[in-house]
Amino acid sequence: MKSSVAFLAVSALLVALMYAVPYGLLNGLQGWPTFAFWTAAAFAYLIIVIAFMRRGR
C-alpha cells in the first residue's frame, strides 16, 4: 500500500514537471533543453517504474 502511494506521488510529480518545466522554466529557450528534458523525464520514469515493479515482486 505504501509503495503504491509512493509510486502515485512520484508519478504525479513527474507528470506535473513534464507540463510545468517546458512551459515555465524552459519557456522560450532555443536549442536542445526542451527536447533533452522531455527525453530525460520519460527515461527517468521508465527507471522508476522498473524499480517499483522489482520492489513489488
Binding site: Y19, T34, T39, V49
Partner: protein, 479 residues
C-alpha cells in the same frame, strides 16, 4: 522508386508475414479464448513487441514525423506524455486485468466491465463506442500506408490500390490464427519498424548534416514551447486522451490478457517502455532534422504535414525507400489487424452472445471471421473517403473513447455504481466529446477533452452515489 520495385517490396513483406501467420496456426487451440487472448500463453518477447507494434502505428511514421516537422519539439512532449501515462496505467492496471482474466476467463475488455457493472448492456455500450471511435482510427492507419506508397512510388501505386492491399493483409493476418497470427506478425513488424527508424534517422543525419552537430536552436520557436501550435491549452487538450490510451483503447487492453505469467507482464511493460522511448525519439528527431534541412535548402518546404514522410521516401535511395515503405506498412498493418481482431471479439462476445444464446465455440470463431471481414470493409470505405489529418483522426478517436476513463478506474477503486452508472457515464461523455468536436468549441477556454473527462467523471460519481454498492464489485477492487 518505380512501381515494379514497390510492388516487389510489398509482395516480399506480405509473403514473409503470411508465412509467419501461417506458422502461428500450430499454436492456436480451437477455442475463442485462444483465438482472441492466446489463453494467456505469450512470453515476454511476444507480449512486449506485440503490445508495442499494436500501439505504435502509421501515426508514428507518417503523423508524428510530419507533426514534428510542422510544429516542432512540442510533438516530442505530446508523445512522451502518452508514454509516461501508459507506463503509469500499466503499472497499476495491467496486473489487475491479468488476474481477472486468469480467474474468470474474460476475453474482451467489455466483458470485464459488463461483469463489474452487472449488465451485458454495459458491454454493448462499450462495444458500440469502440466501433464508432476505432473505425476512423484504423482507417487513419490505412491512409498512412496509402499516402506513403503513393508518395514513395511517385504516384505509380495509387491511393486506392494501397488501401485495398493494406486492409487485405490486415484481414488475412487477423483471420488466420487470431491473436497468434497477429502477435507473431507484430514481432516481425515491430522489429522492422524500429530498425528502419534507426537506419533512416542515421542516413538522414549523415546525408543532411555530415559531421556537423545538430543545432536545434536553428529551428527557432520550433525548438521550444509554447509555440503557435503548442499553446499550453492545446498541449493539455492533445495529451489528455493520449495519457489514458492504455485503458480506453480495447485493442491494447485485450493484450494485457496475453502474458503467461506476471513476470512476463512485467517484462512486457519494461521492454515496451524501452521500445517506446527509442521509437518516439527517433521519429521526432527525423521530423526535426528534415525541418532543419528545409532551412538549409536540402529538403523541400512541405505544407501538408502528412506528405513529409512520403516526400522523404521519394528522395531516398531505392533500397532505403523500399525499407521505409515496408516499415510504414508494418506499422499500419500491425495496428489495424489488432483493432479489427478486438472489435470482432467485442462484437461477437459482447453483442452477439447477449442476443443469441447457446452459440458453440466453432460457430463463434466462424462469426468472428465474418465480423473481421465486415469491419475491414467499413475501414476501407472510411479510408477511401480520405478524411482529415492522420494525427487529428487519431486524437479524435481517443477523445471519443475518453468517457470510459472513470468507468475503468472506478471499477478498480470503488464498489459503488452499477449498469446505469456505467451507461450514463459513457453516453454523457460521448455526447459532450462529440458536441464539442463538431462545434469546435472550448467553453471558458478550457480544452474540450478536459470538459469531456470532467463531465463523464461527474456523471459517474453522481450516478454511483445514487445507485449504491453493486454485488460482486469487491473482487474487482481486490484484484
Amino acid at each position: 522508386m518505380d512501381a515494379t520495385l514497390t510492388y516487389i517490396a510489398i509482395a516480399i513483406f506480405i509473403l514473409v508475414g503470411t508465412g509467419i501467420a501461417w506458422l502461428s496456426k500450430r499454436f492456436l487451440r480451437k477455442e475463442a479464448k485462444d483465438f482472441y487472448a492466446a489463453s494467456g500463453r505469450f512470453g515476454t518477447v511476444l507480449a512486449s513487441l506485440s503490445y508495442a507494434a499494436t500501439t505504435y502505428s502509421a501515426f508514428m511514421f507518417i503523423g508524428l514525423v510530419g507533426m514534428a516537422y510542422a510544429t516542432g519539439v512540442g510533438t516530442l512532449g505530446f508523445e512522451l506524455v502518452y508514454l509516461v501515462g501508459t507506463l503509469f496505467l500499466l503499472y497499476h492496471i495491467a496486473p489487475k486485468y491479468w488476474t481477472l482474466h486468469k480467474k474468470y476467463g474474460y476475453i474482451t475488455p467489455a466483458e470485464v466491465l459488463s461483469d463489474r457493472y452487472g449488465s451485458g448492456g454495459v458491454g454493448v455500450a462499450v462495444t458500440l463506442l469502440s466501433l464508432v471511435a476505432l473505425i476512423p482510427y484504423a482507417a487513419s492507419q490505412v491512409i498512412g500506408v496509402a499516402v506513403a506508397a503513393e508518395g514513395a512510388s511517385s504516384g505509380a501505386v495509387t491511393f486506392s490500390t494501397a488501401v485495398v492491399i493494406a486492409i487485405a493483409v490486415a484481414l488475412l493476418w487477423a483471420a488466420i490464427a487470431g491473436i497468434w497470427s497477429v502477435g507473431l506478425t507484430d514481432v516481425f513488424q515491430g522489429i522492422v519498424m524500429v530498425c528502419t527508424g534507426v537506419i533512416m534517422v542515421c542516413f538522414v543525419y549523415w546525408q543532411g548534416f555530415g559531421q556537423r552537430p545538430l543545432d536545434l536552436a536553428a529551428l527557432g520557436s520550433l525548438s521550444y514551447v509554447p509555440s503557435s501550435t503548442w499553446t499550453f491549452a492545446n498541449f493539455v487538450n492533445m495529451t489528455l486522451p493520449w495519457f489514458f490510451f492504455a485503458i480506453t483503447n480495447p485493442q491494447v487492453v485485450q493484450r494485457l490478457f496475453a502474458p503467461k505469467t506476471k513476470e512476463a507482464q512485467r517484462g512486457m511493460i519494461t521492454w515496451f517502455g524501452i521500445y517506446g522511448i527509442t521509437f518516439t525519439v527517433i521519429v521526432t528527431l527525423l521530423g526535426l532534422m528534415l525541418r532543419l534541412m528545409t532551412a538549409d535548402g536540402a529538403f523541400p518546404l512541405i505544407a501538408n504535414r502528412d506528405a513529409v514522410t512520403p516526400t522523404l521516401l521519394s528522395m531516398l535511395p531505392a533500397w532505403l525507400s523500399i525499407i521505409g515503405l515496408v516499415a510504414v506498412i508494418a506499422a499500419s498493418v500491425s495496428t489495424i489487424d489488432g483493432i479489427i481482431l478486438t472489435l470482432s471479439s467485442m462484437t461477437v462476445r459482447d453483442v452477439l452472445r447477449r442476443y443469441a444464446k447457446g452459440v458453440t465455440q466453432k460457430a463463434e470463431i466462424a462469426v468472428a471471421r465474418i465480423t473481421i471481414v465486415a469491419i475491414a470493409i467499413a475501414c476501407t470505405i472510411f479510408a477511401l473517403s480520405k478524411p482529415g489529418f492522420i494525427v487529428d483522426l487519431a486524437v479524435l478517436s481517443s477523445s471519443l473513447l475518453l468517457p470510459q476513463v472513470p468507468v475503468v478506474i472506478g471499477m478498480f477503486v470503488w464498489c459503488r455504481g452499477g449498469k446505469w452508472t456505467a451507461v450514463a457515464t459513457i453516453v454523457a461523455g460521448f455526447g459532450v466529446a462529440l458536441a464539442l468536436y463538431l462545434l469546435k468549441a472550448s467553453p471558458l477556454d478550457i480544452p474540450a477533452n478536459v470538459w469531456t473527462i470532467a463531465a463523464s467523471t461527474l456523471v459517474y460519481v453522481a450516478a454511483a452515489a445514487i445507485e449504491g454498492k453493486t454485488e460482486g464489485a469487491a473482487r474487482f477492487v481486490e484484484a
